[in-house]
């Protein structure tokens, strides 16, 4: 298995610990990653698309064209990058007129969208390409006794007719991945609620309150921790717990894992190899709970 690694912005520039954990975990599964040195911001599916749709599509198409030249499918670590790149891929594959228009723009940068490279999210690679069976076999330290609330995030599920990852109202795949690690998927109310990251820079108070809505439900359900598949969701729920404390005086103390970290721990990597010391809400207490 070999992929063009699309890092995006948030992970390499703000959360390199998640990149480090993911690279170490994928190496354990024998997955080969080739860095996309010519890639740029995906670009961001909200800000840039809302300024000018065509520019957004052209920059995304350029990133897809880079992968086309590499002859590899793209692996994304972020729901935002996934939505942008996959939506661009589907749009340009299905709409010949738009494809021509975008390729005219790309020609000025000596690029061409060919539509060969497919776009895969990290969870798709774990769930479909590596598979639950292989993951179960690799687990050396089953996460027994750990109740994990899975948060999928919006842009891996919706728009579902484009992304086609999982049921947009009742997703199961991340829960199944959690189960494969020996942990218990903790169900909670309103699982598909948005983390609020989309409003972080525009209306930060709402963004914090949106993150709170989910943390309240996760806490009520009695989960030990949360697992996410996107760096934006990670920041909303990890750092966000301190912002909530400042705003409403509530304290949640729910550690938040990016999926590679939880998987890495279960297959026997050390907290140091997973960069677990970088979390705002400390994870040690939860790891001690594992039987």
């Amino acid at each position: 298995m070999k992929y063009a690694l699309f890092l995006g912005c948030m992970i390499p520039l703000r959360l390199p610990n998640l990149e480090y954990a993911t690279r170490n975990v994928l190496a354990e599964f024998g997955v080969e990653l080739v860095d996309m040195r010519e890639a740029t911001c995906c670009p961001d599916p909200i800000g840039i698309r809302n300024m000018d749709y065509l520019t957004w599509l052209a920059i995304a198409a350029r990133n897809l064209a880079v992968a086309d030249e590499m002859g590899l499918d793209i692996l994304t670590l972020c729901n935002g990058c996934y939505e942008t790149l996959k939506t661009a891929y589907v749009t340009l594959t299905e709409d010949a007129e738009m494809r021509e228009k975008i390729n005219e723009i790309l020609a000025k940068a000596n690029r061409e969208f060919k539509g060969k490279a497919k776009v895969k999210h990290l969870l798709e690679v774990f769930y479909h390409d590596i598979g639950l069976q292989k993951i179960r076999e690799m687990v050396k330290r089953p996460l027994e006794g750990l109740k994990v609330a899975a948060h999928y995030g919006c842009h891996i599920l919706r728009p579902s007719e484009i992304l086609k990852f999982d049921d947009p109202e009742n997703p199961r795949k991340l829960d199944e991945l959690v189960e494969a690690l020996g942990a218990t998927p903790q169900q909670y109310e309103m699982k598909t609620l948005c983390c609020g990251a989309g409003l972080r820079n525009v209306m930060s108070e709402y963004s914090i309150r949106m993150a709170r809505e989910k943390l309240v439900r996760v806490k009520e359900a009695g989960a030990d921790c949360m697992v996410v598949a996107c760096p934006f969701c990670f920041i909303q729920y990890d750092m966000g717990q301190f912002e909530i404390r400042r705003l409403t005086k509530e304290r949640f103390d729910i550690p938040v894992f990016y999926f590679s970290e939880l998987l890495g721990y279960a297959i026997g990597l050390s907290p140091r190899e997973l960069g677990l010391g970088m979390h705002r809400v400390k994870v040690d207490r939860v790891l001690k709970k594992i039987r």
């Binding site: 480090y20 010519e38 890639a39 740029t40 800000g47 300024m51 065509l54 525009v202 209306m203």
Partner: protein
């Protein structure tokens, strides 16, 4: 643009499902997906300086659940593109564009992340100058560069 929006919302039956599932609507009564679309059809210029237009978090729950398949987020994107052309944009978006044009990425590599990357032995994530030149050429064809000069 307006006729396209008008055509797309003809099928809206005003059932309110979009409002019911919307987390932002729960926090702020000014934000109602349905209402924004309907106002746009009556007079889009009323929305140019309307702050609530920028409150959508793009979770796509409204369009996913809409019984008539009205795609509110896509319609809102068209609307925001139109408003942007009239010069009104959140400062954060202008900053985002300025960063992408300058660095190729939406954020700058800060000292802390650089130190952390070195400690982990991770490769330099910065796009090459050639890559940034390509991105600039794409941004220049769109006319968005006006926002970079402002920002």
């Amino acid at each position: 643009m307006l006729s396209e929006i008008a055509e797309k919302i003809q099928i809206c039956v005003a059932c309110g499902t979009c409002v019911g599932g919307c987390l932002v609507s729960r926090l702020d009564k000014r934000f109602r997906p349905m209402r924004i679309i309907h106002t746009a059809v009556v007079d889009v210029n009323r929305l140019i300086n309307e702050p609530s237009v920028w409150l959508c978090s793009y979770c796509y729950i409204c369009s996913e659940r809409c019984p008539k398949a009205v795609e509110f987020p896509d319609i809102l994107t068209r609307l925001r593109n139109y408003i942007a052309k009239h010069g009104n944009l959140p400062a954060a978006y202008k900053m985002l564009l300025a960063n992408i044009s300058k660095h190729g990425t939406a954020l700058e590599l800060d000292e802390f992340a650089l130190m952390e990357r070195e400690e982990y032995g991770l490769p330099d994530p910065s796009p090459s100058q050639e890559t940034i030149k390509e991105i600039k050429s794409i941004i220049n064809t769109s006319g968005l560069s006006v926002f970079i000069r402002e920002g």
